[in-house]
Amino acid sequence: MTLFTLRKRNFENQYPVPSTRYPGDFRENKLMATKKFKYLVIGNSAGGIGCVEGIRRVDRTGTIAIVSDERYHTYSRPLITHLIEGDVERGGMDFRPRSFYRGHDVQPYLGFRAGNLDTNGRKVSLVSSEDGTRHTIRFEKLLIATGGKPFIPPMEGLDLDGVTPMINLDQSLEVRKKLGRVKSAVVLGAGLIGTKTAQALAHQIEKVTMVELADRILSPVTDAVSSEMAADAFRRNGVQVLLTNTVTEVRGDNRGRVSEVQLKDGSVLPCDLFIVAIGVRPRTEIVEGTDISLSDIKLGGGIEVGMNMETNVEGIYACGDCAHAHDFVTGGMKLLPLWPNAYIGGRIAGLNMAGSKHQHRWATNMNSVDFFGFPMVSAGFMLKPDRKGFEEVIRQEDGNYSKVILKGDVIQGLIMAGNVDRAGIYLGLMREKVKTTSFKKELLTDDFAVVQLPFEVKEKIKQPIMEIE
């Protein structure tokens, strides 16, 4: 066990090294004299930005500081694979305009790692990753939006050059820089990060292989049919898809670069780039040793929050990949490491921190992706639960596939692949728990439209959404 932790640490240390500077990332990093803030936000991604925007909706003047251990202006994390692909340039990564921090009167601490959280004394210490300087920040209200960390399985050879997870901008810039001399790549894991990375690499290097332990790709967001359609899009674009297989060992050459990976089935794949994309885990180091409660590791080990995004400690909130969220389909609290869930969770937390009263009722397992021009969206249950009362409606023709899962005529699951037009209407019905009894025959047909819906539902859809729930 000790050996494993040691290796893992080595591996993580390899990547935080800043490689490419983008002008402007430091410009707004001049520190304010005051070290006490009304609101402190740890995390500069979807959740953190959502929180700042939520706070400023209510409180225009309360002081806000935002902390991130990455030195960058807030960027769209899901776009890091697009940066490798080249359809988004570095400037297109900005999640908000460069004027964001100034415009929202926020003090950014970019390139600072937060630690030593004192929930009673209401303070946290920040250490600069540039020069190691230390600051103690006092706060009244805190949001923890630290996101996720890659799950790295224990195996030989992860410290080799050319081996990397894919969850932040540095890693994507690093891979982009290497592309010229990469001939073949292996992506371990065919979840959302794995598939998006494989797609980004597909047209740029000679050989890309995706290795997945499950018997289908994208298993959390597809059923068998839609997964096969997506896998087909990958195969058509030259990506080899290996299922029910995994990598057991990584081997390198004498210069310390990755040269091949050993698979579970005994075969060996030569490669000069190896992406580990098995999944993410909540990044919760900051709450360790505090009185903030984490869920059981079997439930994901995320920070436990209520529907208002507050943790068990008053005034301390959490959202995004590091925390749990209420799933409106299943009714339980669970990890939903998805961008929209992080943003909306952060926004709700921000509104509540500033004294408003809201609940986050919007989250469920929902995803939308586009593989080589083949779009696919899904929400809620992907597979019909093996229990009484569930039924499914399926439509499949001309390379398009759609499916809804119903329980007592209420939609609880949706998959649309090939044609995703108006998918949101189904999601709306799902959220509002509308009985589909009167229009069940039209579901998934070309006739299905807002006009088919019961009068009150129809009239509500025609009106703008005035309130966040």
Binding site: Y343, D421, V450, V451, P464, I468
Partner: protein
């Protein structure tokens, strides 16, 4: 802010609003060329019909825009002055998260060239949006609302 409303009882379901929306967002902005020489863009307004009932539906420019909250690229935002929900075409990467998030089904996938989402932009540069101006039966009207 400006918001377009539909009068269900006078809409005759002629779909002209869709046609003129497509023309307005085409390259040539010419009704013949749009449909004869170009691949027409998707209409940002949809006429819904069922028996005698019909009405047109487009982006409601919600004060709480879930499409903007869900956008993974930061390409959709709400203009603080006008309240309009604006999509920055250049930033859109065509992931369709907004298509899934809009519970009104008002965002369409534009797959003609680089894949982009298409939504009502209230026709910038026009005093009155094309769909409203061209509706032959005045079934669409524009209302100035206070924010």
């Amino acid at each position: 802010m400006k918001r377009i409303y539909a009068k269900e009882d006078v809409c005759i379901g002629c779909h002209l609003c869709e046609v003129h929306c497509q023309v307005e967002h085409s390259r040539t902005r010419n009704i013949i060329k749009t449909f004869k020489e170009e691949i027409p863009p998707p209409s940002r307004i949809t006429v819904e019909e069922s028996g005698p009932v019909s009405f047109a539906l487009q982006c409601r420019h919600c004060p709480e825009p879930y499409c903007a909250y869900a956008c993974i690229a930061g390409a959709i935002y709400q203009d603080e002055q006008t309240g309009e929900v604006i999509q920055e075409k250049d930033k859109c990467i065509g992931c369709w998260t907004c298509v899934l998030s809009c519970t009104k089904g008002a965002i369409r996938a534009d797959t003609r060239g680089p894949r982009k989402a298409a939504k009502c932009d209230l026709c910038p540069g026009r005093e009155v949006p094309a769909c409203v101006e061209m509706c032959p039966n005045d079934a669409l009207y524009l209302e100035e609302e206070e924010l």
